[in-house]
Subunit: 254 residues, 2 copies
């Protein structure tokens, strides 16, 4: 199967390396910035292209892995291709592609990617969707080579998952950053809190989070919460977050 | 060194087991509920007591590991003891003990404990404080047996750490619970999001969180954020949390 990859960002980079590692044949990497295309293409022995007119039109699979709002405009430039065209977005509807291509799909890896950190693709849930059963089977086979967790999800469920991911990943990471802000202002190093972060995540690998909540809010320990709020008196933004999340913990059904 | 442990909750239980595993001599376990005292005492071959009048007065170390608001009243009942008396609380001042005992201290393990899950005490930061250098050395030696990470922190810094821990542990766990709520309402299982939670925490083991933030807010992707807010229209509490945390991410210096 010949694969053309469109994009050179975090998702495209990790996906390209995972495909290469599993022996898949990525023939071209496109980026409007040819330097970026070359960087990624060279690392997986593919051809780099910076112009969509140079794209192979007879590949089997086209993976559009770019920012959500650039998917449609790239798709419009691919009208000549005959293969299956997919995107890797959590929030973009399959219709953006199926309106233009008979064979279209979605190949969404549910993970947080940074170029600075390698990830084990094997453990990344891959969410797939396609215009028909034949194309779904193509994506299923490819996904199963890359990961042990493959989910067939329609667009509505995929969007829900993306929203849940913001709560489970982006927001917790920001709270780590706010914890670091509190520590730094008091001459304490982030290192001291890393074991707690690791254990908090590890705990929900075999439990549901609502069953292992700890801290002053779930104990309704108003004395401690009031102390904390007064310690944050010069940081009104953190005070608001503290109040909002503590209230939400208190409201959680037990 | 003879140790008396006062308490049978999560912290007391994990601490007792860690002390026993390192060959420390816990001679008594006290709980006002004798059944709980026996459960824990039996597991570490100590004597269980349900009445403070039965406490040994000549032990070397008394560890009060109970709810914050019960520390003082237990301390008042220990007036006859001559050993070092410490508590394990992040927020309680050493003065609650040093007002009554010449030899007093704090032995605070920075971790989230649940009875359901074993923890590796070796990786738990232990924060210690004492009335004088001799007692501090006693605590330092004991702490160093249990953990690779020992910090000497005064009460102010310990309280800051406890506040940061709420942001780094209790709040992220609650956000996992909210993610699960969103998933369940749409027939999706929490399992699908576990690898993302693990990776989000793993990422900050070698990076600072503010350098690895991902998601719509840090990209200022208003289209996606508006979609998410409208998906939450029947969950006003989650909508408020989404808005508050997204705004905070946008305000974060880069």
């Amino acid at each position: 199967m010949e694969i053309v990859l469109l994009g050179s960002g975090n998702v495209a980079t990790h996906l390209a390396k995972a495909l290469k590692a599993k022996g898949e044949n990525v023939v071209q990497v496109y980026s409007p910035n040819l330097v970026n295309a070359k960087l990624l293409a060279n690392s997986i022995a593919a051809e780099a292209i910076g112009d969509l007119n140079a794209i192979k039109t007879d590949a089997d699979l086209y993976i559009i892995s770019v920012k959500d709002d650039a998917i449609e405009s790239i798709a419009e430039r691919l009208k000549a291709v005959s293969g299956l065209v997919v995107h890797t977005s959590g929030t973009t509807d399959i219709k953006v592609l199926s309106a233009q291509f008979k064979k279209a799909g979605v190949f969404y890896p549910l993970q947080t990617f940074s170029k600075a950190k390698e990830v084990d693709f094997d453990r990344i849930p891959l969410c797939i969707e396609a215009t028909d059963a034949v194309q779904l089977e193509v994506l299923h086979k490819l996904a199963a080579k890359l990961s042990q967790q493959v989910y067939e999800l329609d667009g509505e469920k995929r969007k829900v998952l993306h929203l849940a991911a913001v709560f489970a990943c982006n927001f917790p990471n920001h709270l780590y950053a706010l914890a670091n802000q509190i520590l730094q202002q008091n001459g304490l190093d982030f290192e001291i809190i890393r074991p707690l972060i690791a254990e908090t995540a590890d705990k929900v690998m075999n439990n549901l989070p609502e069953n292992v909540q700890t801290g002053p809010a779930v104990r309704a320990d108003e004395t401690t919460m009031n102390k904390h709020l007064s310690m944050l008196k010069d940081m009104p933004e953190l005070q608001e977050i503290y109040q909002t999340l503590s209230n939400s913990i208190k409201l959680m059904p037990k």
